[in-house]
Symmetry: C2
Subunit: 237 residues, 2 copies
């Protein structure tokens, strides 16, 4: 039986900071641990959205591609969807409003949870990045080469996770949200939005299953003590 | 089938820093996730050693007690033993020597692993603490009230874990080792030892299953932003 309280995380965000972008897990393997989630591809190849057991990539040009099971990831989060309705949106909420509204609805600041919101967006701002080549740049260098996308009057889904600050570095402390339009016209890592109406669901995940790529020599040999992990996450995420 | 690469952690070390010591998981539940490990009891009630599916408490007076399945823990680490022989000890090793020898034997600084060493110790220095009452003191306050124990010419087992620095706060970054003498004459949180001879085994654990006590209101409502978690771990662990 699937564990509906477990958040599976492959890799750590800290790995991405110095440029450890190699995809070391296939989607086939990843999807054994969840049907819903977010991530990035081999070489930081776009932003991923996984909904209802289907994985989509928003590539560096903003195009949405459905992914094969042999696509590999360096970093991803998935869980088995079992969301509870939290609220309906009637007023205009930007991303910060929505995050604050969710956070103030319950005392979940010390646990992981997932957010899935579907509705109508007056505007959506996202970003994505093209696949990088070896030798990989750092995450902050990549952040300067991302493309941003803007959509208006979009129907779509916000999907992502909240992680306690204690786990910043392994994960993104706080909210980490991606977006996918119903018509696949826009998606990516969410920068902001104006949500007009919709349904917000949450799922408490009080168990983090943190898998490390322990067969990847670049990861195992890397000296993380010189990386400013929190600083880079703040700048790049 | 048991997952021999998973380290199950119940609670976080960060919880202990402000005094969230309430036992919220029974040993019966804990031992479903491993037969080997370390931890502490409800109210910081001693230091625990779990070997071969049996749980022992080294209490605040240094006495070793075998624990019932209904004993509860606020924080513990367990895994299913499947160790590999790393080396035999012939020369005199103190705790720091042994840790350095293990660390230099392989590139495991970025993954979790367990250490189990059995042998003859010229001397062993441990500490433990008595059960605290509510309102609980902080971890650093408790550290000043611990008792230390000294043994000589002891046969026994070192058991514990190494955690990557990225997870310091959730776990103890670096080594976190406990001890139990074969004749139960001494045990506890290891401060130092002089190992004369013995067998050192290790087990790579590249998956951390981090379970949070999300039904414990004191934990869920706590504001960790004011706690100096890394500082307290450095002082108390």
């Amino acid at each position: 039986m699937n564990n509906a309280s477990a958040l599976y995380q492959y890799g750590t965000l800290a790995m991405l900071v110095p440029g450890l972008f190699e995809g070391t897990l296939t989607l086939e393997e990843l999807l054994k641990h969840g049907d819903t989630g977010i991530g990035t591809g081999d070489g930081l190849d776009g932003e991923l959205v996984i909904l209802d057991d289907k994985a989509y990539q928003i590539d560096g040009d903003g195009k949405v591609n459905e992914l094969d099971k042999d696509f590999t990831v360096p970093f991803a989060n998935v869980h088995f969807a079992s969301f509870e309705h939290l609220m309906n949106v009637h007023a205009l909420y930007n991303m910060n409003d929505l995050e604050e509204k969710i956070s103030s609805s319950q005392d979940w600041q010390n646990t992981f949870f997932s957010v899935r919101a579907h509705g109508t967006f007056k505007s959506v701002d996202t970003r994505s990045i093209s696949k990088q080549s070896k030798p990989y740049p750092t995450l902050v260098e990549c952040a300067h080469n991302q493309r941003e996308f803007h959509g208006e009057d979009v129907e779509g889904t916000v999907i992502g996770y909240f992680s306690p600050q204690l786990f910043n570095g392994a994960a993104v402390g706080g909210y980490h949200l991606h977006f996918l339009a119903d018509d696949k016209s826009i998606g990516g890592h969410l920068l902001n939005f104006e949500m007009v109406s919709g349904d917000v669901k949450v799922q408490k995940l009080d168990e983090l299953v943190q898998k490390l790529p322990s067969k990847n020599e670049d990861f195992m040999k890397h000296d993380f003590s010189k990386d400013d992990i929190a600083g880079a996450i703040g700048e790049a995420e």
